[in-house]
Amino acid sequence: MYRITVLTWALFLIVTASFGQGQNPVVISGVVQDKLGPLKGVTVSEKNAKNTTTSDDKGRFTITVAPGSTLTFQYIGYKPVEHVVTTTDDIRISMENDNQMVEEIVVVGYGQQAQKTMTGAVSAIKGEEIVTTKNESLPNMLTGKIPGLRVVQNSAEPGQFNNSMDIRGLGSPLIIIDGVPRNNMARLNPEDIESISVLKDASAAIYGVNSANGVILITTKKGAQGEIDLSYSGSMLWQRPSNFPKLVDAVDWMTLYNERSSHNVDNPTRPYTDEQIEQYRSGELKSTDWVSAIFRNSAPQQMHTLNASGGSDRISFYSSLGLQKQESFLRTNAINYEIFNLRSNISAKITDNLVFDMNLAGTLDDRQSTPYSSSDIIRGMWLMQPMDRVFYDDEQTKYWQPSNGGLQNPAAMMDSDLVGKNEYRSKWFQSNFSLRYDAPFLDGLYVKGLYSYDYTLNENKEFSKAYQLYDSGGNPRTWNAQSDAPNRVARYFYGKDANLWNVQIGYEKQFEDHFISSMALFENTHREGDNFYGSRQLALPLDQIFAGITDKMQINQSVSSGSLYDYAYHAYVGRLAYNYKSKYLSEFTYRYESSSRFSGQSGWAGTPAVMAGWVISEEDFMKNSSLNFINLFKVRASYGRMLDDAATNDYNFLTGYYYPATGGSSVSLPSGYVFDGNFINSSSDKGIANRAITWYKSDMFNLGLDFDAWTGKFGGTLELFQRKRHGLLATRSQSLPGIVGAAQPQENLNSDLTRGIELELYHADKWKDLSYRIAGNISYTRVKTLHFERARAGNSYLNWRQNNNQRYNNIWWGYAGDGIITDWDDLYYNTTYISRGSTLGDYQYLDWNGDGQISDLDVHPLAVNGMVPLINYGITLSASWKGIDLNMLWQGAGKRYFAAREFLYQPLWSDTNALTEFLNRWRPTNPEASPYDPATEWIEGDYAFTGTNPNYNSEFNIQNAAYIRLKSIELGYSLPSDWLTKVNLKKVRLYVNAYNLLTFTKLRYMDPEFYSNPDVSRGGLGDYGYSYPLNKTISVGLNVNF
């Protein structure tokens, strides 16, 4: 299948490339360069004529002009150069850096702006800075690179893209790809990305009812004029689990078990005899190393991109083909992922004033797994006792049934031939068509239209088989991933359509000192989602629906708001920007929007934003002072109102019914009732409607400062922000009595405040052949609850414990530690109550309220909880010397805490396994000595004697997960060009790259980024260490330009 697609693509390349033909009398060619070397992308045009070209990688250009005409060379940040054509010989043009015009162009909402005159808090990153990190997921490649963008990778499971990403701690941001809201950011081919802009403040308000959490704008590459550039980049990666705990062997297991049994003041026992332990110690019996039974040492991954770009003065194109495969750590590779990306961006100048753009992108992906999730298998791996075997028989045909009858053998669970297979396939088709007309009659006036159509299809298949495990007596025991069926196949289909179009009229002109830019736009969005699924039990072990039996057959549809929906939005958008001498800057934007989700209810909503800036460095007093080494010094402020309607998915303003009734199951409040022997689905009332419900409002205020000194050698940005949200949904359920018979509807009641600071600094220089740049950023954000709807607390203590109003979020309440009991006097004469089972090495808690006992009243704020660290920072270092380039990203986070549960927290939890870390414990020197005998000699350790577990919410269990790590490092070497010309290659670069290579953290035995969810408000679950681990990768790669 891939082969056919490749052929089609190649054909397409050839056709589009053939547009680039043209002819004219005089051909001029030459090289453009600056002090450092050739300049790429310089616009070369014939003065007073229409032909234009740009210089290529080596600064070369070729243009056909009338003899004797004047050529102009223009390049952003450089002084323009004019050259009169006299001969047809190669010409050499030197351009000079114009310090006054470091004119970086940044993509912003519905347009572009010069960085220098920008007033919003927008951070931008170029494609080439993104790809220095090699990872399967785009968000992971942005980690640490953009101030205020917080990315935590929770797992490296192939195809799951399990990340937490937000801007400034604001929540899930809106992702706009090529001007259209789209949700496949993680699956984009990073090689296709031209730039990413992150709108962090009021500049996002232009996106209206979905903008409250900030906006990420992704722009894909376009072709440049010039000869066709064909390039390949690819890498092979080897993944290893990052910071992964180890399990004890049978000898240690039995020792710990005996310790735990002897750690009982009333009835100490030693269940395992020395002979039993000796059997394993001597090698007579072998303990199973479950980690290596399930995980392999390294798992391969590969990424390839082939792209072509180029064009003539009339048409240019960029097209690419990307392929990525990621295998899992599982020995059977039962979980694996493959993605295929195709993109074609074409830009055509239909007439001098009319430009047509078409972007087409397609993505196919395929994730495979067994009917058991990775966490089922990994949980099995952690929980197996070392005495359990993988196989029952020596021929390894029958899997072992673990001695704990509640568990299944993880080796069997990952054997697709045995248990079945799930396959998740998705297809994205995304298209943009736009037309821009620049009015010839009025300079600066344009009209633009955009139409986009996207389609997403998810088709999943779940196939599970019944299978047998064999216990120590050889008796088979049947298991099944699906509790109700021996063999079952289910198919799921989800289709999603999105239509968006907008028309825009704009006027932009510089009148001497005055610059005006204005724009008005109307946008229509329509999105629909539909789905269905069907399942059958199978008569034959064949994974097809047709092979099933009709009994217990199911066909149905999901009615969740993310699967079955039909939404439309209308929006009017306006922007007006004005600046005087690029010194006094101002901008105003407004979006006026309505959506079907609020149709006829709360009508239209406006999201205004105002921004202003003052470029002090443009003032004469500064230019003429001794501070004139500062090229840029700008202060700016912005304020805007943004909205969010995500919380109102369920049409709370309407009464109605759910059919079939939701919330129950076949065994507890089924979704229907049996009348006359038939199961009749029921309809249940949705509850009370709140006709006044509306989107919540988010008021964002931002203060910023940008500076640059010594012409780009040193500079930075400082941002301070504050966001106040009001109208967050909450119910007054505390006060409506049960006799009303319905839950109170959600109302716009709660509010919160987010404040933070971001700092970014950079330094770049060049020393002989060595040029380098170092940049660092750090951000800190904290959310405070302003109002939280709640019932009055019964007393002032409860009020202190429970009332979160005017209090920072993410407070972790717990017990402070008071050291470890190290001598018997501590036990005998302790000022607090100590239970009689205590012994040396036990944890002591701080009697915080001094009442002589440790109780819930000693609980007080200890740490912060939450998924994302409050402090995030990154340092990038890039350097090049001759053909060698180095890129390094150090990234870190602070103010994040982690508390383990189950087997990570307690050795032999529920009689399962133990981590080797727990061997570092207090224990009697003589394993047979009583732990309660004061004469017993002890070996000290970090953990208490086996059998004593720390309180979950105490300092003994809450660990600081702050870290700094070498997120990525890349070392590249470009082969000298004189070698390459012989083999007709433009450029060859070889590199090695590593991801998560080094990590420095105090966190024991886990990766600090690992999925961790100690947030009690979210059920306090999840954090058991059963998720798929993060990966550490080493890769070698190649970039070739043909």
Binding site: H526, S560, G664, V667, P670, I680, S682, S684, I739, Q744
Partner: protein, 654 residues
């Protein structure tokens, strides 16, 4: 010019594509679809019936979702009444969860139908509208019955509380109505239902007779409260707990009259299709089949269907040895319960006789021999040790006596002992016991018999001393257990729950008649209440295979009627409320230990003996001593509700 046309066309095309914003939600259904179509109303009905608070197989007094609990039933209501012992019911628990918010949500659903359906009358026939409305009132009455029997007078909500549109939050804070007012309100709803429901309806839905039969239950309950309750609580001039005693006769009369409505039809009568006179086997089988076949005795039934609607009764009550995994043995009938039945040798106190004249154990070839003459209904209700179930002999045995039997075997423990055997006997004693099943099933621990064969110490189903599973009383439950359900691990069961059957109507009628008789009330229609009660009880006893009462004069104590009721309706989740409404729960469960009957095997005699005794305590110290707290006659209103609604007064004692 071509280009301009192109531009115009492009812009026109997209502007024409402007989407209307008035898009109704795709995943939500509105009133016309529900009330304007028969299918819609039926789906609404399905919801009302599915939330109807029947104490059925899914009922679990311990956890949230009282009436629709899908979890493992570690605790069964019948283990609260002394009918059975449950491993996990270690004393006289009260309902741990409250039925309040869910009750009023269901009441709102019924009220909403009553208010909305008239707006859509034109889409249905007159009869349909009548039936739907009558069902809604039947259901509303059913829900209020569930409330009033728990809490006494509760706030009376007979319309949809239209908050926030037309009622302020303060106006929703309704006080409790007088208990009497609620009972009367239920009476009105049921009268409406009785007068408007058809005689036949879809199976699973209410009929005229379901309403009448249910009314007899409700009114009998109200009469009992009026007569026996002594708790009085007044709020705002309303007696929220208790009914003035002078109203007792009204309610008993209403119960009696309602039960007589069943006389109008032959549709419902006692199931006797497999009953053969003087054939105990057939009579026992007839009795078990009432609960497994969909018989004409049933008046109101909840049906289940695989895979949409399932329960796990077979999982919970299953004998250990026929369990296919999951839970088992949560209902082990007590000796106290067994002793209510006829045909067992009993002493003057009504206690099972297990010792001979020399105070030695009676020896039996099989424990079943002690029950040869027992009334067939007992065999239809419980599994006796060594009887057949699901093709297996249910092997219940506490241990093996390896000592001599030459001069008889003396009682293992002194009479009235509450001490475990293991406290007296150890491994070197002639009494061989098993601490757990791992030990019991290990061939190495088996006992060699005289003939050289080996035998497990305890039976396949226990009893073992350190029990986590297995039998604990010497008996298992037979009623409702489905022998076809060989795969009974978890929620696999689909047998129907019989909420009301004809036998109950007869028992209601007999009880109401006797109460009216003792109150000296004049009988309506000239019948004789004593004679009527006698006829009802004898109908029941005949079908049960019990000894018939000789003459109406044998109806000389309310206990005759009550005991009959407790035997006939045992394990149908009625007894708990009977004991409460008769206000005898406190007397029955005052420092109460229930008695069990453990079979033992003597190797020397090659015979069994049965040891009747108080239940052994469970490892960990649970002694299974039952003490009913009399404040539980009126249960606690959820404190959250009291907090939210200050006008709602809490019941006394909480």
């Amino acid at each position: 010019m071509k280009v301009h046309q192109f531009i115009y066309a492009f812009f026109l095309l997209i502007v024409a594509g402007c989407t209307k914003l008035d898009i109704p939600p795709k995943n939500i259904i509105s009133d016309p679809e529900i009330f304007g179509t028969s299918e819609g109303v039926l789906s609404y009905m399905a919801r009302m019936y599915s939330t109807l608070p029947m104490e059925d197989f899914r009922y679990n007094y311990e956890t949230n979702g009282l009436f629709n609990n899908g979890g493992t039933k570690y605790k069964q209501q019948s283990a609260l009444t002394g009918e059975a012992l449950g491993r996990d019911t270690q004393g006289a628990d009260a309902e741990n969860a409250s039925y309040w918010d869910a009750a009023y949500a269901a009441i709102r659903t019924a009220n909403m139908l009553l208010e909305t359906l008239p707006q859509y009358q034109e889409f249905h026939s007159e009869d349909e509208v009548k039936t739907y409305s009558a069902e809604a009132r039947f259901i509303r009455g059913f829900i209020y019955y569930s409330l009033v029997k728990r809490y006494g007078g509760v706030p009376k909500v007979d319309m949809v509380i239209d908050y926030p549109a037309s009622v302020s939050l303060e106006e929703t804070l309704l006080p409790r109505a007088a208990e009497e007012e609620i009972w009367d309100f239920i009476g009105e709803d049921l009268d409406f239902a009785m007068n408007n429901l058809p005689e036949n309806n879809q199976k699973g839905r209410a009929t005229k007779y379901a309403a009448a039969a249910f009314k007899s239950r409700v009114m009998l309950h109200a009469g009992s409260i009026a007569k026996y309750n002594t708790i009085e609580e007044i709020d705002r001039g309303n007696r929220i707990c208790g009914i003035p005693s002078q109203r007792a006769t009204d309610y008993f009369k209403a119960a009696y009259d309602a039960s007589r409505i069943l006389d109008e039809t032959t549709k419902h009568r006692l199931y006797k299709d497999e009953w053969v006179a003087d054939d105990a086997e057939a009579q026992a089988q007839n009795f078990t089949h009432i609960f497994l076949k969909d018989t004409y005795e049933n008046i109101f039934v909840r049906y289940y269907k695989d895979p949409e609607s399932l329960h796990n009764f077979d999982d919970s009550a299953q004998p250990m040895q026929t369990s296919s995994g999951g839970n088992n043995s949560e209902l082990c009938p007590t000796l106290d319960f067994i002793e209510m039945f006829d045909g067992i040798e009993k002493d003057a106190d009504g206690h099972f006789v297990f010792l001979d004249a020399n105070d030695k154990y009676k020896l039996y070839a099989s424990p079943l021999d002690a029950f040869v003459n027992a009334e067939p209904r007992l065999k239809g209700t419980v599994i006796l040790p060594m009887s057949e179930f699901m093709g297996q002999t249910i092997d219940i045995r506490r241990g093996i006596w390896t000592g001599s039997s030459q001069n008889g075997i003396s009682p293992l423990m002194p009479a009235g002992s509450v001490v475990n055997y293991t406290n007296v006997y150890n491994e070197s004693s002639p009494l061989k016991l098993s601490s757990n099943f791992a030990f019991n099933n290990d061939p190495g621990n088996q006992i060699t018999l005289k003939d050289g064969s080996r035998k497990k110490r305890s039976g396949e189903s226990g009893v073992v001393s350190g029990w986590d599973f297995g039998n604990i009383s010497g008996f298992y439950l037979r009623k409702y257990l489905n022998p076809e359900q060989t795969d009974n691990n978890g929620n696999k069961s689909t047998q129907s729950w019989i909420e009301i059957r004809y036998a109950e109507v007869l028992l209601n009628r007999a009880e109401a008649a006797y109460e009216l008789l003792t109150a000296g009330a004049a009988s309506s229609g000239g019948g004789d209440y004593r004679q009527d009660a006698f006829d009802c009880i004898n109908q029941i006893r005949e079908r049960a295979g019990a000894t018939l009462l000789v003459s109406p004069s044998a109806i000389n104590s309310i206990d005759t009627i009550r005991t009959e009721r407790r035997k006939e309706l045992a394990f149908e989740h009625k007894t708990y409320w009977d004991l409460k409404r008769w206000r005898i729960m406190e007397a029955e469960q005052s420092n109460k230990r229930y008695r069990v009957l453990y079979p033992f095997y003597s190797t020397d005699a090659d015979k069994y003996f049965l040891d009747a005794r108080y239940m052994e305590s469970k490892g960990g110290g649970a002694n299974y001593i039952f003490n009913f707290d009399s404040r539980n006659y009126y249960q606690m209103i959820p404190p959250a509700e009291i907090t939210k609604n200050p006008n709602c007064r809490q019941n006394p004692g909480y």
